[in-house]
């Protein structure tokens, strides 16, 4: 995109009459310096993105030094979280984060894939726009509004209607045991599922869309039904990207803070019972950060933040690479 040097040379042997123009042009700088400065500025902006990531990492490591020195790696296998006696172990929060996120993924993935298929192939063209707009709206609702709805609408529904049914029919698994307060791991999972659904659905739709039409046509030409065409021609070709979208959703669920904090019950226990209250990495930071008395307490909370940062970075990087492997050449959507 550089200006060809020949152009500047051709401008010089101009006609006599245009000497005013020529002297005007010569008075103006060639723009080389301005060009350099501008390119440099843009480069700095781009490097700022690296800078932010490095800054976050350094800040978190620096601030959690105290706790890292005091507990080492045992921090993540220690079950006791007792600020009063100064004992800090993050295992209950790790457990709560992983369990609630997995619950959410299990609930969201089948629905998200079904909706992606619906929007891609089943839905009449006229409805496609409005429905995909509505599912995108789900992504635009702020986390705190989900939490508000979760406390006052979803939790009572689960306490009064869903909980008793689960206890009655699935109680034997030990996963659903009374008493059910409405707030707990299961409610958090449901809220998270609603929140990560748009991510999984929209990205897996992007991935399915880039499967070449010839693949679909080939399968159809062999006499396949629509479902066979989707299964053999589309889902199998796009499976890498679909798994990537699921992992992206998982990453979103791992770091989700407000809605989970409002409905999970905030009790650092490690129970198999999904109706019992739990606690997550993000929500313990949200709840206790401003109340943390003492440097070790604060440092332990920041170490939890560091763990959260590293885990989500790795999860997101893996997921992005998988999505890229499929959509290479077609930039995906940014609204993830």
């Amino acid at each position: 995109m550089e200006i060809p040097p020949a152009m500047a040379a051709r401008a010089t042997p101009a006609e006599q009459g245009s000497s005013v123009i020529r002297s005007f042009l010569q008075k103006k700088s060639s723009g080389r310096m301005a060009d350099g400065v501008f390119a440099g500025l843009m480069l700095i902006c781009a490097l700022a993105i690296f800078g932010i990531v490095v800054l976050i990492l350094l800040m978190l490591i620096d601030q959690s030094r105290l706790s890292i020195h005091a507990f080492g790696l045992r921090f993540f296998i220690n079950r006791v979280w007792d600020p009063v006696t100064g004992k800090f172990g993050a295992l209950p929060f790790l457990y709560g984060t992983v369990l609630s996120s997995l619950l959410a993924v299990c609930m969201a993935v089948p629905l998200a894939l079904a909706v992606a298929i619906f929007l891609l192939d089943v839905c009449p063209r006229a409805l496609r726009g409005p429905i995909s707009f509505l599912t995108e709206l789900l992504a635009a609702i702020p986390s705190v509004v989900y939490g508000l709805w979760g406390i006052f609408v979803l939790a009572p529904i689960i306490r009064d209607y869903v909980g008793p049914v689960l206890i009655r029919y699935l109680g034997w698994t030990g996963l659903f045991v009374a008493p059910d307060f409405g707030v707990g791991m299961f409610t958090a999972g449901v809220i998270l599922a609603i929140m990560i659904f748009p991510v999984i659905s929209s990205i897996s739709r992007d991935v399915m869309r880039v499967v070449p039409v010839s693949q679909r046509e080939g399968v159809l030409a062999l006499g396949a039904t629509r479902w066979e065409m989707l299964r053999i021609g589309v889902l199998r070709n796009a499976r890498m990207g679909i798994i990537g979208s699921v992992i992206l959703g998982l990453g979103r669920a791992l770091g989700e803070t407000m809605a989970v904090t409002m409905v999970i019950g905030n009790h650092p226990g490690m129970e198999k019972n999904l109706l019992a209250p739990g606690y997550t990495l993000a929500s313990v930071i949200a709840n206790e950060f401003t109340e943390a008395t003492g440097d070790l307490y604060l440092s332990a909370l920041i170490e939890i933040g560091l763990a959260l940062f590293l885990v989500t970075i790795v999860v997101n990087a893996v997921a992005r690479l998988m999505v890229w492997a499929v959509t290479r050449g077609n930039p995906g959507s940014v609204q993830s």
Partner: protein
């Protein structure tokens, strides 16, 4: 499986007719079943959306009044009061975040689209931006706390603004890049042909052509951080009184909704619903605007 069998030419005569019919029936039944599941799932997914919006309208609209927009909160136990200070505080924090985040984001997007298109460097920056996009918002809060709150020994609206600005950068950068990528190359070449230097071409031709798309992208990023609560918990912290001083704790709408929602008072729950409705209307208005722009074709004359 069944499809592969029936497509083998040699196996057709061996199979009896009833078996053939059964297989065909099963295949079409599966097909209809999956179609049905897809339709039902879409309805299932849209239900919570309708429920959330319905409740917001129902509960929020009944508690909205003029005082909500003009008065700060009242002490516990006294009726009335509003969230005027929180709305103003949110505006101040978001304004600061936009001032810091949007220029950097646009710059990074310009670099990606105009200077590093198709290069390895560009791919790495793009990848980092995408990964940064997935970092939990509460982590940004911790960083802003460590940067600005801990050294100053007091919470401040500025720290909240910085936390939100960090969140805006990757989103703005990626949208800007995508919008610039849509600008047809001949437009740039025409500018170069007139002897216009590259920096001027980028500013007056590329950015100008893509500006509707970039503006909507910025609004999208703005709408996303407008509802963020977690990064403000220990940066902006919240305030029960009027304050415009960015060097002091400042109220913010999402923060106030959170505090009121988890409080035990019915009056505060009512205000939380009203606040959530106001927040949602603001966010949905901008998202809908973005959608309308995007549907019209973001770029006039673009390919």
């Amino acid at each position: 499986m069944s499809m592969q069998q029936s497509s083998q030419p040699g196996s057709a005569p061996v199979r009896s007719q009833s078996l053939e019919r059964m297989i065909r029936l099963r295949r079409s039944a599966t097909n209809h079943l999956v179609t049905g599941v897809a339709i039902v799932s879409t309805i299932v997914v849209l239900t919570p959306l309708v429920a959330i919006l319905g409740y917001l309208l129902l509960k929020g609209a009944s508690s909205l009044n003029l005082a909500f927009f003009t008065r700060p909160p009242m002490p516990v136990g006294m009726p009335g009061g509003g969230m005027a200070n929180a709305i103003a505080g949110s505006a101040a924090v978001l304004g600061l975040a936009s001032l810091l985040g949007i220029p950097v984001g646009i710059g990074a997007g310009v670099y990606l689209a105009e200077y590093a298109r198709g290069t390895r460097r560009g791919a790495i920056v793009r990848f980092t931006a995408d990964v940064l996009n997935g970092v939990p918002s509460i982590v940004m809060g911790i960083v802003a706390y460590a940067l600005l709150v801990a050294p100053e020994h007091h919470f401040s609206g500025m720290a909240g603004g910085v936390a939100l600005a960090i969140m805006m950068v990757p989103t703005v950068a990626r949208t800007t890049e995508e919008m610039l990528a849509l600008v047809p190359n001949p437009v740039r070449e025409a500018a170069f042909g007139l002897g216009i230097p590259k920096w001027r071409t980028v500013l007056s031709v590329s950015l100008r052509t893509a500006s509707p798309g970039i503006i909507t992208g910025c609004m999208l990023a703005f709408a996303r951080v407008a509802g963020e609560t977690a990064p403000l918990l220990f940066t902006a912290f919240g305030n029960q009184f009027w304050s415009f001083d960015l060097n002091q704790p400042i109220a913010a709408l999402p923060l106030q909704i959170f505090v009121y929602a988890v409080s035990p008072y019915d009056e505060w729950h009512r205000l939380a619903w009203a606040g959530a409705l106001v927040l949602m209307v603001m966010i949905m208005a901008s998202v809908t605007l973005v959608r309308i722009f995007a549907d019209r074709g973001v770029l006039k004359g673009g390919s």
